[in-house]
């Protein structure tokens, strides 16, 4: 446990076997406190769970700092292992499991443009921008590889926060695009970050760029295939063996373990675990979920949501606690002005990097879907631009991976980059309610427009007992309806056509094998 939960004991006389108990106890207690305060502030528009967690983390950090007489504020050293092996998989799996598949696949092209091409563009802008501007501010010493890493670190949006900014029932189209982008973006950033670690930065020519793109495409397709494969295997096992006959506990354990296995297998094969577990989540909610007993369905939904929720809260708590990590602050030898200059530069580059791809790609996406009833308006594009500005856990994890060794660094430049990342994440997260307000304000006129597009009556993702049992069929039949009614338009609307044929294929071959309710053939 030393390396994932490395700790600095609070008391001097703590016995070695109890050394680990102290940080875990404090973390669990503070998590409980976050839950209670988050609940009490639920109706407050300006505060949310992540801000609460950051704030409580900060207060805890200060308390520990005072107790230790200014030595250090963190109980646990950050480790990418803790993050990438334990905290990230449940968050991403839950995203896949709860995503509205219909809308996700209808906007698939747009999502991919933003999530994949967007990250490439944003990385280039931020890398070049920081390479050009950092030395002007008096901050030198980063290698070319590090500039590229900075580009990917600050291109990873926070898909978790996005869920809290946009309301699924107010703006279903934007919600699905921004959320879908967030998930694909997480995966792309991590894959790109790893590609940059391996690439030869001494000579960057078209050959190198082509090889990065090629290795990216390979990773993307194999990771997706693995996730779908594991998901289908789980569905098949659950359907064939019908665990529920003897025990619903086994079904649940099977789903949880197989989901985790998909992630670990993907990491083992050096693929993108995020993408794998995301698609595994989609397949499991589409097939496996229908093969289990009703109690397991309810439990599965809630367990995945709970694990994801706790993991997120934990991450924000950690970020808050790490803000007052005095060791790193003392190590950065820059003046307050220079530091402020660097933060502003990064935020500015994030703004520009995102603008540069959102508006052109939206136009391109509108051109591709030119027969769609409603293209993305300029106002909607602006919202997409704004909503994706938050930086979160993935940025922090990548920054720690790049600039520290198991959460520790003795290099002033590296320490500066860590504090920079934390400040940017804090700043973007804390301004979120403002973004939220602007979006809600800006979108009020668009409401009917957006809702008309989404079609389906939306629900809160939390707290639904009976509704999840319907959500899959409802989208299928609604879609079928659209496909049939607009048969004349099918040729002009490739996405709908693909979706229509997929539905037929799904009903005729996939569902009978892997599970899920079948529709009346007359409907097709």
């Amino acid at each position: 446990m030393q390396s994932i939960l490395s700790y600095a004991t609070v008391g001097e006389n703590a016995s070695p076997e109890h050394a680990e108990v102290v940080p875990i106890t404090i973390f669990v207690a503070v998590l409980c406190l976050c839950l209670v305060i988050g609940h009490l502030l639920e109706e407050n528009r300006w505060v949310n769970e992540s801000i609460t967690a950051i704030f409580i983390g900060g207060v805890t950090g200060i308390l520990i700092l005072v107790l230790r007489k200014g030595k250090s504020s963190h109980l646990l050293r950050f480790s990418e292992e803790l993050f990438f092996i334990y905290l990230l998989p449940p968050i991403i799996f839950n995203a896949g499991f709860q995503v509205k598949k219909k809308q996700f696949f209808q906007n698939f092209i747009t999502i991919m443009l933003f999530g994949v091409v967007g990250v490439f563009i944003s990385t280039v802008i931020i890398s070049l921008g920081s390479w050009w501007l950092f030395p002007k501010l008096g901050f030198v010493g980063l290698t070319p590889r590090e500039y590229l890493a900075v580009g990917t670190i600050f291109s990873a949006t926070d898909s978790v926060c996005t869920l809290q900014v946009l309301q699924q029932d107010e703006t279903p189209l934007l919600y699905s695009i921004v959320f879908g982008e967030g998930v694909v973006n997480d995966a792309t950033s991590v894959v790109l970050f790893n590609a940059i670690q391996k690439m030869d930065v001494s000579k960057i020519d078209s050959q190198t760029i082509l090889s990065v793109i090629r290795s990216f495409l390979y990773l993307f397709s194999t990771s997706t295939a693995l996730g779908i494969g594991v998901g289908l295997l789980t569905s098949l096992v659950l359907k064939t063996l019908y665990f529920g006959k003897h025990s619903s506990i086994r079904e649940l354990a099977m789903m949880v373990l197989m989901a985790y296995l998909s992630y670990m297998l993907s990491e083992l094969l050096k693929l993108s675990g995020i993408l794998t577990v995301f698609f595994c989540g989609i397949v499991m909610s589409h097939y496996s979920w229908h093969n289990v007993t009703e109690s397991s369905r309810i439990t599965a939904r809630h367990v995945f949501a709970m694990l994801s929720f706790v993991a997120e809260t934990f991450i924000f708590l950690y970020v808050g606690m790490d803000t007052f990590d005095m060791e790193k602050w003392r190590m950065t030898k820059l003046s307050f002005g220079t530091s402020l200059g660097i933060y502003s530069t990064i935020v500015f580059l994030i703004l520009v990097g995102r603008a540069v791809f959102v508006f052109p790609l939206s136009t391109f996406s509108n051109f591709m879907n030119r027969n769609k009833t409603s293209p993305l308006t300029f106002k909607q594009q602006t919202v997409i631009w704004w909503a994706g500005l938050m930086r979160g856990a993935v940025s922090i994890a990548l920054a720690f991976k790049q600039f520290t060794y198991s959460g520790v660094t003795l290099n002033p430049i590296n320490a500066t980059m860590i504090t920079n990342t934390i400040i940017v994440v804090l700043f973007t997260t804390l301004t979120k309610p403002l973004v939220n307000y602007l979006i809600t304000h800006g979108m009020r006129n668009q409401n009917n427009h957006g809702a008309g597009e989404g079609g389906e009556q939306p629900r809160s993702p939390k707290d639904d007992v009976v509704l999840p049992l319907l959500s899959f069929d409802e989208s299928a039949s609604a879609n079928m309806q659209i496909a049939r009614d607009n048969f004349s338009m099918l040729m002009d609307r490739p996405v709908y056509t693909i979706h229509h044929y997929w539905r037929r294929f799904d009903n005729a071959y996939m569902r009978p094998i892997f599970g899920g309710p079948r529709h009346n053939p007359s409907e097709c």
Copy 2:
């Protein structure tokens, strides 16, 4: 993570960041395999989940051994931290959460006699026996403290296995006694083991024994109070704030985190986490569970059962894998005959140690409950004796704690004690189906007798969606009925009297504050 999941990398060229991924992936994959095979063998009387897990663990161990050309069979080094901080809490909490409170408290005196006094007697017998017999077999070198540790190690019964041996619907009385004893026994063994670590073994007089008993009583009462306190606090928070209003996810997270917090807090205060979390489970199922939304109730039951199930399977898998740990086998320098002699001696001592307390204490318990309709017959006493012979995870964990340093030992005597423990656990677990058969055979005539005592219609602990929602009231009202009908007998039956007044107090004061359904006052 190094110390909980210390691993030996399979390939030589595994990168450091991937080193941890390999053992986790293999463990998760093998766990999935156990689930599938366990399901397929469900109807087989002679094989069960734990035997399957041990067997698969063994096969995996051999495979790894072959792949590594005989170097070592384990992927993970055993660590008491992994066991005591992560695996044990969910198992014990689930035991408390799912226990039939009515029967547990009705047989409270008997359970305490077996679980507390029994462990003391058994420890003395096994310690003295091994101190007398081991040197005769040519096995010398253990210190007095180690002999005492051996006594507690082999006095810890396997409460997990017990659940699989006795059928709650066939023998409710025996089930509740043996299961209740198992939980109290786990706690007593651990507390006693820790007391022995601290005690001065150089002069064992009545003073020392008295101080052990005093410290035991202190630990027992404070641990129980802490568990009840945390459970009540959780109930109060859930009832007052009504989390379900906004999100059922928070309720669930709150229950899981508070349960875990009770365990960690208890460990932090150097109390018995097992006892604390067990009573926390009882209080939570009695009050907290009634304060959450229906979906959270279903989810809570299944999540706790699933976590406990996975943790158990993991432990047995580990035991199987460790059986072929060649390093330890090579280190024990004893001949096959001597080793066999030691195993037989330990099994013999376990048999004697258990007989010495079960029969006298049963007689004493019958005397205490002399007005009870049915005392424990000799046949039932024999079943209790047999059923508690299995040794399991707690024994292994204590043995590793006593005889290794983070799972590693270089001392031949210590290595021998580890292999002894594993062999005894394997032997007692593998003969379980036989015990099972004998009990079922022996008890067939006692069925009606036993069921008549239990009163309430029992259910399978697994797979119940709607039933858990009833279980608490049903026992309450059934009990009320008994209490009212037998008012004339109340003075003769102290346990019933206590139970009756407790119910009145519970209905009048506790439930209105902490939650749970209230009964019609006219019934009292």
